[in-house]
Symmetry: none
Subunit: 225 residues, 2 copies
Amino acid sequence: MSRSVLIIEDDPRIRRMLQMTLQREGLEVTEAGSGEEALEHLAEHTFDVILLDLMLPGKDGFEVCREIRKTSSTPVIMVTARSDSHDVVAGLEAGADDYVSKPFVVKELSARIRALARRTRAPEPRVRLTVGDLEVSPTEGTVTRGGEMLNLTRTEFRLLTELAAEPGRVLSREELLERVWGYDYFGDSRLVDVHVRRLRKKIEPDPANPTLVTTVRGMGYRVPG
Amino acid sequence: MSRSVLIIEDDPRIRRMLQMTLQREGLEVTEAGSGEEALEHLAEHTFDVILLDLMLPGKDGFEVCREIRKTSSTPVIMVTARSDSHDVVAGLEAGADDYVSKPFVVKELSARIRALARRTRAPEPRVRLTVGDLEVSPTEGTVTRGGEMLNLTRTEFRLLTELAAEPGRVLSREELLERVWGYDYFGDSRLVDVHVRRLRKKIEPDPANPTLVTTVRGMGYRVPG
DNA sequence: GCGCTGTGTGACAAGTTCGTGACCGGCGGA
DNA sequence: TCCGCCGGTCACGAACTTGTCACACAGCGC
């Protein structure tokens, strides 16, 4: 799963280095050269983690951190020049969640970002969806019928989850593409058909006469409410 | 092996700083903001070491220490503001095992915790997990089948424990990496595969057709619920 | 019936994921 | 010191997934 990171760092060289290396690690990176710019970004998007350099011109990192905390609970990783315990305590007081001291190992940094993103992400409630006689558990990643686990692929599973989350509602191919494949997927929408078929093959008692995932001609698919 | 520490400290800043730095030293940290809260934690878990700040609101550290001693023999490290010999003597009298004065060096603190934990490791409550016909005892570090003990390595054991702790749930490689290897591990996630294989070789009746630790392709591993 | 559009079906190639054996370095015990 | 165990890495092949295609088929308006 891709995590989004906001980097707040005034030195453009370091910023670019971070941007490239973290991107290579599979993270979505947004850059800000100042606290003001950062707050603008935060007004528009939410991020999984914020990476904040202490040494900023104008407002210093602590102040930026406090301002961020006023409007957002996004976890903040402070980047300190040296691991000065005074800075650390001040950073924590300002609302930071973790800190890293320069020079840092990129791998370590990205691991921390991931860990923090995972840890502070709202604990997923244990949801149980039902589709006919199927039990779908999004958090456990399982689909069972009568206690027996069905072997779905990741795509099939997501497809079923999206449909099951809104029973009765017809989801268009475009909607499903966006939800299952992501908004940056530009392929054929027939792709959905193929996966619906594969899904049916596994979950429908009679795949030729589907009852769990039904077709609404000209509209899309749905699971009966 | 990881040691568990209970921090009793009213200042949230210092508490968080301690929590994070000690965690980074590989210690499992639980926090308590007051003596009452600490006693609640102690009723539920056992810890290897208790880190107790003298300057607590309400009951002072000495009193908390005496109360702890009524029910538990877990070693206590007192944290004093200054190395006042009067405080030290009173602390030892109250049942503390060691003392550290502020400001302390984190490395030193973690070294003392380790030393004390090693010296007086308390017998932990027994927890039993089962995986198929296996009995897993996380506290004793043993896995048995029909009374016969299996010879797992530390890594294999922890891997099995993490999976067994949440039967039915699929744990991703990333999750397993974080839980077994720690979130500061930056290696290949294929490492998990290799250890799963080694684990299977030892616990599965037929390692080629695993039933105790099963693969969920594209997701991770699980032990059937 | 006819044509059009939308959907189901089987096949296929490329890519991904996973299991496996092998290797190497570090560490501790004999 | 040597030896064996353990943990981490690698390369390879098998199995599986996935996106795409061509074609068949069904519904619908005419």
